[in-house]
């Protein structure tokens, strides 16, 4: 098409835009992300209204929708912030207020940076000395199972690594289109990424009656179903679980590995909550460790990517966007493509890389900062454990709310029984019933939760995800308000 005359061109300009909902990438339209979705937007709006003096039955909005510990008052680890402050402003290295071990770390990190500045780009895969430290951490954590720094990729939060791996995996057309198995309920980054990539989401249901456990028989069912219409190539598992909070047993992890080996599936193990384990008898087992303990039949064949982050655990440093992934048994040619792919986004934020270095290489016994560090970490984790227990306990006193034990992570995902009338009214409004419930809760109490429909759930069941993060006093108030609301709601719609 040659360029047009002046008049015609003006007419064309007045017509359709270049980018409309019809001309845009149709996959993008399918993307949803409940954690920051419509209910949160309404919560932000309500906050504005409160500020403007609008009268409401509550004086503040409590955002229990997102896994952000600092937002709810959790304190950062002193040592980490000291080192990072010195990395940003190296003049502070001569300041007496900072302990020697913190100074040593800062100097070491700066040595690894271009021009000794955290403002220089790092290599796309991440600062080398940080990757080495991550590898050593993984080895220690996994009882000596070797870890090669070359298999470590630093990422912008774990999300960056997860999406990158999914990009790598998705191929094929029609019946050979890649299918990716993901738990229901799941963290909606997975469904969003799969929707955008046009991959097939293959759901496997966690067992609510048995504490959200993972049954291999359910994996088999899901896989067999999926094979009829796509090419399932990967299995994603979140352990400890989000939103469900279960901590998988070692046996379960072995079973999953065996299943992945047999069915030739690439394993993606989202382990960002690995330090958030509360329930007695529960223990975090890394997929990599279990894989290697199962012997060479599995450890030399099963392809695995494990993900970790600085946003959760006891650090809660979401705003740094620090993370890493470790790839195991990846084909060298594929790994070359992965390395190429990560270079497209340049590099992860350097402060986040520096923070990850400290997380994997914290103060050691005998070092000046050790006792403070241990004290702070313990206090944070035990407070979380206490709030996990409290949440489960109080929610279970409400008739119509059933909460599985919050074994780990940062959320409760209770099931709510909704009266038929409420369900009908929701459907009339074109809303998912649990969205209808949560919106009402927000409007009446100022508490922002995320409806279970945002995470996936069995048909006909309803849930909400609530974080355990508000400080204990506030959490108690929150829980009692949820209790009161629920009882009112049931009464209203019975």
């Amino acid at each position: 098409v040659d360029s047009v005359t002046g008049e015609e061109s003006v007419q064309r300009m007045m017509a359709e835009k270049v980018l409309t909902v019809d001309t845009m990438n149709s996959c993008v339209k399918k993307v949803e992300y409940a954690v920051r979705g419509p209910i949160v937007l309404r919560a932000v709006q309500i906050e504005k209204e409160l500020k403007e003096g609008v009268q409401k039955p509550f004086s503040e909005v409590i955002k229990a929708n997102i896994g952000d510990a600092h937002a709810m008052g959790q304190q950062p680890i002193t040592f980490f912030r000291q080192v990072l402050a010195m990395c940003s402003y190296p003049e502070l290295l001569d300041d007496d207020r900072f302990p020697e071990d913190a100074k040593g770390r800062a100097r070491r990190i700066l040595q690894g940076c271009g021009g000794q500045s955290i403002g220089a780009y790092s290599a796309s895969q991440g600062i080398e000395c940080v990757r080495q430290d991550v590898a050593r951490y993984v080895e220690r954590r996994d009882g000596g199972v070797p870890s090669d720094p070359d298999n470590i990729y630093l990422t912008t939060g774990a999300s960056d690594g997860i999406v990158t791996m999914l990009k790598l995996l998705v191929a094929g057309e029609g019946r050979s289109r890649t299918g990716v198995m993901i738990s229901i309920p799941q963290y909606p980054l997975y469904s969003a990424a799969l929707a955008e990539l046009g991959a097939v989401q293959v759901n496997y249901f966690l067992n609510e009656e048995r504490c959200w456990s993972l049954d291999v028989s359910e994996l088999r069912r899901a896989l067999a179903d999926a094979r009829r219409h796509c090419n399932p190539r990967a299995l994603c598992i979140i352990n400890p679980g989000n939103p469900t909070g279960q901590v998988q047993s070692r046996q379960c992890i072995e079973d999953v590995i065996r299943f992945a080996a047999k069915e030739r599936l690439f394993l993606m193990a989202d382990e960002v909550y690995q330090d958030n384990v509360y329930a007695e008898g529960c223990e975090f087992h890394s997929f990599k460790k279990v894989l290697f303990e199962m012997g060479p039949e599995f450890s030399s064949t099963v392809e695995l990517a494990s993900f970790h982050s600085t946003s959760k655990c006891y650090m809660g440093e979401c705003g740094f966007r620090g993370g890493y992934m470790e790839v195991v048994n990846m084909d060298p040619e594929v790994k070359a493509q992965l390395t190429k792919l990560v270079s497209v986004r340049l590099c992860p934020p350097v402060p986040g890389q520096a923070l990850m270095d400290l997380v994997v290489n914290p103060p050691q016994p005998g070092e000046p900062s050790y006792s403070t560090f241990i004290r702070e970490r313990k206090a944070t984790l035990s407070s979380l454990a206490e709030r996990a227990r409290l949440t489960e306990q109080i929610l279970n006193t409400v008739p119509g709310i059933a909460c599985n034990p919050v074994q780990g992570a940062m959320y409760s995902f209770p099931r709510v029984t909704l009266p038929a009338r409420a369900i009908r009214e929701a459907e009339e409004r074109g809303q998912a019933p649990d969205m209808f419930y949560c919106m009402k809760l927000l409007e009446e109490t100022g508490i922002c939760l995320v409806p279970g429909s945002g995470f996936g759930q069995r048909d006909g069941t309803f849930h909400f995800r609530m974080t355990i993060l508000p400080p204990t006093d506030k959490l108690k108030i929150l829980l009692s308000k949820v209790k009161d609301f629920h009882q009112r709601f049931i009464q209203q719609y019975s």
């Binding site: 064309r12 845009m24 940003s88 350097v350």
Partner: protein, 478 residues
């Protein structure tokens, strides 16, 4: 055989930049020098990347003081930091949930910083209004570019989305586009005219492209990367008119807007020109403008702070962009803070102003002087020519290589300018980038040097380069 063998075909299409083999070799040499191995040079100089701090320039003190106080608020009680640093840090912390920079922020960034950016843009554009809700704060401009490209790219065969991109190109942009399944539609900048954008060439490129793909966007870089041109207002108007006529979405990469060296040149934003053209252009042409804290006087590449401003986008589409972006949580808070300072630096009367102003002026003078010196020196060499470096942070001189050198390179199976760079690295310990990374007119060869480096480093660079060049030309001539 690996499960992953059959991976996404789009990925195999990405051309990995040649940079990799050079930077790997540079790292090896650096290591060897540390081990005490003998080389004809004492230390390695690497000016191949657009990274001011790596090149030896220092961060701006005020920026780092504010960041350190935000990271470790106990510093606010010390006498160590100037009062304006403290009040800025306190203010920023108040904006953060839980008053911690470790919290997530709103998807598009801290509202206060979006607001600062909108005022910055408006001031820069002589009052053209800018709305905070059209500003998305991203992890560097690269994330913003990819976000926008994701909205477009889909389709195969003749429906494959094409985006017009300048040659010499930004390899990163082309890689991003290819990785998403889009088609690169190259349009050549005119070297002889100082790397101008020529409409006839753009029309030619577009017409050719329409035979095999669906061009939907036009990517321009102003000031140029790597070529350093600064578009005149008229040139920008012509491009806008072209985009309007041909129904192309405009992507204006303006990350070097702060680096204009030629006193006769002036950065004018696409948004301002669009506005000044009035209706129907001003209220219909769709535009995304990109900026970053990685370039300009700050050079904070590692903090990953950037933004995109959308103009005239369909509101339903904006809703989808927001949802899409929300899946990536938020931009790193340190990067956002750098942007805040970029948008709203210390003012006259503030405690840090004098020192800040001096540092920034020195930075600007360094770049201006470097641009001048590089041009003069390289143009004085036989077999090299350098167009005026009006803006940006690179020099992109052309190498006029003897036939024998080209033949030698062909034998070795590498691009001639890459061969030149490899030999330069081995013999002189100087790492620069090859033009072949950028796509370039056939049978032309170039080098890419980053000029964001201290003046004495640049002096050393030019000495090493001149010495090598003379030797190289002599070796391959005759």
């Amino acid at each position: 055989m690996s499960v992953l063998r059959a991976i996404s075909p789009d990925l195999s299409r990405i051309r990995l930049v040649d940079q990799d083999c050079l930077s790997k070799r540079a790292a090896q040499i650096r290591e060897a020098l540390l081990q005490g191995l003998e080389r004809p040079f004492k230390h390695l100089i690497d000016i191949s990347l657009g990274d001011a701090h790596r090149g030896g320039l220092q961060p701006i003190t005020f920026v780092r003081q504010v960041i350190s106080a935000c990271l470790y608020p106990s510093l606010l009680d010390s006498g160590r930091l100037p009062t304006d640093v403290k009040s800025r840090a306190r203010n920023l912390l108040k904006q953060c949930e839980g008053e911690s920079v470790g919290s997530y922020t709103a998807t598009c960034g801290l509202p206060k910083i979006q607001h600062s950016l909108s005022e910055f843009i408006s001031r820069r554009d002589r009052g053209v209004p800018s709305s905070p809700e059209n500003i998305f704060i991203t992890s560097g401009s690269q994330q913003a570019l990819m976000l926008v490209l994701r909205l477009f790219v889909h389709g195969k065969g003749s429906l494959q989305t094409g985006i017009m991109t300048p040659v010499p190109s930004s390899p990163l942009f082309n890689m991003a586009l290819s990785s998403l399944g889009g088609a690169v539609v190259p349009y050549h900048l005119c070297e002889e005219e100082g790397w101008t954008l020529r409409l006839d060439e753009m029309r030619r490129a577009l017409a050719t492209a329409r035979r095999h793909c669906n061009p939907m966007g036009l990517y321009v870089i102003n000031p140029g990367n790597p070529v350093g041109q600064v578009q005149s207002q008229k040139s920008i108007e012509d491009v806008i008119r072209f985009a309007a006529e041909e129904k192309l979405f405009l992507l204006a990469d303006e990350v070097y807007q702060d680096s204009v060296h030629d006193p006769t040149a002036e950065f004018v934003s696409y948004k301002r020109v669009l506005h000044e053209m009035g209706p129907p252009y001003s209220n219909t042409v769709e535009l995304a403008s990109f900026n970053s804290a990685s370039k300009g006087f700050m050079g904070e590449c590692g903090l990953r702070g950037g933004y995109v401003e959308f103009v005239n986008l369909d509101s339903a589409v904006m809703g989808h962009i927001y949802t899409l972006f929300s899946t990536e949580a938020c931009t790193a808070v340190m990067g956002q803070i750098a942007l805040d300072i970029m948008a709203n630096p210390p003012r006259s009367g503030d405690a840090s102003y004098t020192a800040f102003f001096e540092e920034v002026q020195n930075r600007r003078n360094t770049l201006n002087n470097n641009a001048k010196r590089v041009q003069e020196t390289l143009n004085s060499l036989d077999g090299m020519s350098c167009q005026p470096i009006r803006g940006g942070i690179y020099a992109f001189p052309q190498l006029h290589l003897p036939a024998r050198a080209v033949a030698k390179a062909e034998e070795a199976g590498v691009a001639p300018d890459l061969l030149y760079c490899m030999l330069l690295l081995e013999e002189m310990g100087l790492c620069v980038g090859p033009g072949s990374e950028h796509l370039q007119r056939k049978d032309t060869h170039h080098l890419r040097l980053c000029i964001a480096t201290p003046e004495d480093t640049l002096q050393e660079v030019l000495e090493r380069l001149s010495t090598f060049h003379l030797h190289f030309m002599r070796l391959f001539s005759g």
